[in-house]
C-alpha cells in the first residue's frame, strides 16, 4: 500500500496544481464580488496560448526550459485578456455574471481550435514539456521526501509560490483588504474611497491570468498537447473554491483532495488490491466523498456576501 501511495502521490500533486491555481484565481474574482464560471474557457485559452508560443519557440530552441516559462507567461496574459470579456460584461454592463461566464466557455473552446488550425495547421498542438526533478536534499527526507519532493515540476513550485504570495496579498496588504471589502460590502468600500469597479476588474483579470496558467500547467506537465478542452476541470475548480470556503488554504486542501481522490480512482484499475472494487464505485468515489465532506464541513458558509451582485453605486 505504502509504495502505491508513494507512486501516486507525485501524480496527485501534478493533477492538483492546475486545479489549485485556477481555483485560486477564481477566489480573487469572487472575493472581489464577481462570479466566474468561465474558468473552463479561460483554462482552454491559456492552454492554447501556452502551446502556441511554446511550440513556435521550440522550433528554434528545442531544449531550452525558458521557452516554457515564456509560454506560461503568454498563457497568463492571454487568460487575462480573455477575461476582460467577462469583466466588461459583468462590471460595466451589469450583465448577469453567470451567462457571460457561460458565453466565455462557449467561445473559448471553438475559437482556440479555429485559431490553432489557422496558425499551426492543426487543431492539436504538441509541445515538449517540463521535466520532473527531485528536489535536492529535501527529497531524501524520509516519508515526506518521497511524497512531496520527488518527481516534482517547476510549475508546481511556481504555483505554490503564487499561493503564498496570494495569501499574503489577500490578507496582509491594502490591496487584499480592499478587494475583499468589494466582495463583502461594495458600498462600504466605495464610501471608504475604494474604486469598486477597478478592484473587480483586477479580481477578474487575476482569475483570467491564473486560469490561463492552470490551463498551461496541464499542457506543460502531464498532457503535452493542446486539444481544445480541459475535461471540465474549470467546473471542478469552481467546486473546489466553494468547498474550500473561499480561503486560499481551504482551496489548497480542497483541490488536493480532488487531485488525490481522482488519481486514486484513475490508477485503481491497475492496483490489484483496488481492482476488485467495482469500477463504478471507484469512479464516483471522489465525488461522493466530496459530498460527504461538504456535509461535515459546510455548516456555515463564508461566501463573499456581495458575490454575483452587480455593483450600482446609487442602490442601497
Amino acid at each position: 500500500m505504502w509504495t502505491t501511495l508513494e507512486q501516486i502521490f507525485p501524480y496527485a500533486i501534478v493533477f492538483t496544481i492546475p486545479l489549485l491555481i485556477t481555483a485560486l484565481g477564481a477566489l480573487f474574482s469572487e472575493r472581489s464580488g464577481v462570479v466566474n464560471i468561465g474558468l473552463d474557457g479561460l483554462m482552454i485559452v491559456g492552454s492554447f496560448m501556452g502551446a502556441f508560443v511554446a511550440s513556435r519557440l521550440q522550433e528554434q530552441y528545442p531544449n531550452d526550459a525558458w521557452v516554457l516559462w515564456v509560454g506560461l507567461l503568454a498563457a497568463m496574459a492571454a487568460g487575462m485578456l480573455f477575461s476582460l470579456l467577462h469583466a466588461f460584461a459583468s462590471i460595466n454592463l451589469s450583465a448577469n455574471q453567470i451567462i457571460s461566464g457561460t458565453a466565455i466557455n462557449l467561445i473559448a473552446g471553438a475559437l482556440t481550435i479555429f485559431l490553432a488550425r489557422n496558425m499551426t495547421g492543426s487543431g492539436n498542438i504538441r509541445i515538449s514539456t517540463f521535466a520532473p526533478f527531485e528536489v535536492p536534499l529535501l527529497s531524501s527526507i524520509p516519508i515526506i521526501g518521497d511524497l512531496f519532493f520527488t518527481r516534482t515540476y517547476a510549475v508546481t513550485w511556481f504555483v505554490l509560490l503564487i499561493l503564498v504570495i496570494s495569501t499574503i496579498a489577500l490578507y496582509k496588504t491594502p490591496f487584499g483588504m480592499r478587494l475583499r471589502a468589494c466582495g463583502e460590502h461594495p458600498h462600504a468600500a466605495e464610501a471608504a474611497g475604494v474604486r469598486v469597479q477597478s478592484m473587480r476588474y483586477v479580481g477578474v483579470m487575476i482569475s483570467g491570468a491564473f486560469s490561463g496558467l492552470g490551463g498551461a500547467a496541464i499542457l506543460m506537465t502531464y498532457s503535452g498537447e493542446f486539444n481544445g478542452n480541459v475535461s471540465g476541470l474549470g467546473f471542478l475548480a469552481l467546486a473546489s473554491l466553494i468547498f474550500g470556503q473561499w480561503r486560499p488554504l481551504g482551496v489548497l486542501a480542497a483541490t488536493f483532495f480532488f487531485g488525490f481522490a481522482s488519481t486514486v480512482a484513475n490508477v485503481s484499475q491497475v492496483i490489484p488490491s483496488l481492482a476488485v472494487i467495482p469500477p463504478v464505485v471507484l469512479k464516483v468515489f471522489p465525488y461522493v466523498v466530496t459530498l460527504i465532506a461538504l456535509v461535515i464541513f459546510s455548516k456555515s458558509s463564508n461566501a463573499p456576501k456581495a458575490v454575483g451582485e452587480p455593483f450600482d453605486s446609487g442602490k442601497r
Binding site: A89, I113, R117, A239, T290, L291, L294
Partner: protein
C-alpha cells in the same frame, strides 16, 4: 414594445457575430442568410429546429425554475442524463400499450431527474451545502453510473451506447415527421410545451409557486409566514430536477433512440444560458430555447454553404449569446426606469 426591445438585444448579438465573420474574412450577410435558412428554409428544417430546441426548452425551464426559487441548479446535465436513463430502462423492461408506456416513461423520467436533484436539495436544506458544488458532483456521479449501467444492462450494438428503444417506447410520431417532411421532431416537443405551460401556471398562479418563490426571495420572511422553508427548498430542487429529467426523456427517447455513454449532455449547460436569456420566465425560456435551436440547427447549413468553418460558426453563436445576454440589460434598465418614473409620478402627485 417588450418584444421589440428583446429583439433589439438579439440584434446586437447578431451584429457582434457579423463583426466576427467580417473579421475572419467572411461575408456576414451570406452567413446569416444561410444560418436562418438552415433553421427555417423548409418544413423539415423548421421541424429540426424545434426538435433541437426541445431538450433546451426543458433544461432551460429546469434552471429557470430553480433560479426563480433562489437556487442555482448547475446540475441539469446530470439530472437529464439520469432521468433519461430511468425512462430508457422502463422503455426496455416494460411491455405496455404504447400510450401507457410513454406516459410511464415520462413519469419515471421526471422522477429520475427529480431524485437526482433531491439529494442536493436535501443537502442544501439540511446541511447548508452549496447547491452549485453538490450538483456538479451529482453530474459526475450520474455520468459514471450511466457509464457502467448501460453496458451492463442495456448493451447495444456497441459498448458506447444502449440498445435502441423498441418502436413502442419511442416518441417518434409518423404524422409529425410527415407534417415536417421527415424531420425528427417528435412528441417530446409537446412534452416541452406542456411543461412550459404547467411550470408557468405553477409559478404564477398556485400557492405552491407562491411558497417556493417566497423562500427563494427571502427565507426568513417565508419562515415568519409559516412556510416550511426546508421542505420548500427540497421541493424546488425536486421539481427542477424533474423537468431536467423530462429533457432526458425527450432527448433519449425522442431526438435519439438510445443513450450514449461517456458524455454529459451539453443541453444541461446550455440550459443555463437559455434560462437567463429567457429572463427565467417560462415563456421567455420557450422563445429563447427556440432561438438557440435555430442557431444550432442552422449552423450546419451555414457551414456547408459558406466557407465559414464549424469552429467559427460555434464562436459566432457564443458571441451572439454573450451580447444578447449583456444587452438584456438595456431592456431591464429601461423597464426599471419606466416603472420608477410611473411610481414617483403618482407618489409626487
Amino acid at each position: 414594445m417588450n418584444m421589440i426591445k428583446s429583439l433589439a438585444a438579439v440584434l446586437l448579438g447578431l451584429a457582434a457575430g457579423a463583426l466576427l465573420m467580417a473579421l475572419t474574412g467572411h461575408n456576414p450577410a451570406e452567413g446569416y442568410k444561410f444560418l436562418f435558412e438552415g433553421g427555417l428554409k423548409n418544413p423539415e428544417r423548421i421541424g429540426n429546429t424545434l426538435a433541437t430546441a426541445t431538450p433546451l426548452i426543458l433544461t432551460g425551464l429546469s434552471v429557470a425554475f430553480a433560479f426563480r426559487t433562489g437556487l442555482f441548479n448547475i446540475g441539469a446535465a446530470g439530472q437529464m442524463l439520469f432521468g433519461g436513463f430511468c425512462a430508457t430502462a422502463v422503455g426496455h423492461l416494460v411491455d405496455l400499450p404504447r400510450a401507457v408506456l410513454l406516459l410511464l416513461m415520462v413519469l419515471v423520467g421526471f422522477l429520475g431527474g427529480a431524485l437526482w436533484a433531491l439529494i442536493p436539495g436535501i443537502l442544501k436544506a439540511r446541511y447548508n451545502v452549496h447547491e452549485v458544488v453538490s450538483t456538479i458532483m451529482m453530474n459526475w456521479i450520474a455520468y459514471w453510473t450511466v457509464f457502467y449501467a448501460i453496458p451492463s444492462y442495456f448493451k447495444g450494438g456497441s459498448e458506447t451506447e444502449s440498445r435502441q428503444l423498441p418502436a413502442n417506447a419511442l416518441f417518434h410520431e409518423n404524422w409529425l415527421s410527415e407534417l415536417f417532411q421527415g424531420s425528427y421532431v417528435n412528441l417530446g416537443f409537446f412534452i416541452a410545451i406542456i411543461s412550459v405551460l404547467i411550470t408557468g401556471f405553477l409559478i404564477n398562479r398556485t400557492t405552491l409557486g407562491y411558497e417556493l418563490k417566497a423562500v427563494g426571495f427571502n427565507r426568513h420572511a417565508a419562515e415568519y409566514a409559516g412556510i416550511a422553508v426546508k421542505r420548500s427548498i427540497v421541493m424546488s430542487m425536486f421539481i427542477s430536477g424533474g423537468i431536467a429529467g423530462l429533457a432526458g426523456v425527450a432527448q433519449y427517447a425522442g431526438n435519439a433512440s438510445s443513450i450514449q455513454i461517456g458524455i454529459l449532455p451539453t443541453q444541461g449547460f446550455d440550459g443555463i444560458a437559455v434560462a437567463l436569456l429567457g429572463a427565467n420566465a417560462p415563456l421567455g425560456v420557450l422563445v429563447s430555447a427556440i432561438f438557440f435551436g435555430l442557431l444550432y440547427s442552422g449552423r450546419g447549413f451555414m457551414n456547408a454553404m459558406t466557407e465559414i468553418p464549424p469552429e467559427i460558426a460555434d464562436s459566432i453563436i457564443a458571441i451572439i449569446i454573450y451580447f444578447a445576454a449583456t444587452s438584456i440589460l438595456i431592456d431591464r434598465l429601461y423597464r426599471k426606469y419606466k416603472s420608477r418614473r410611473a411610481a414617483n409620478k403618482k407618489q409626487g402627485g
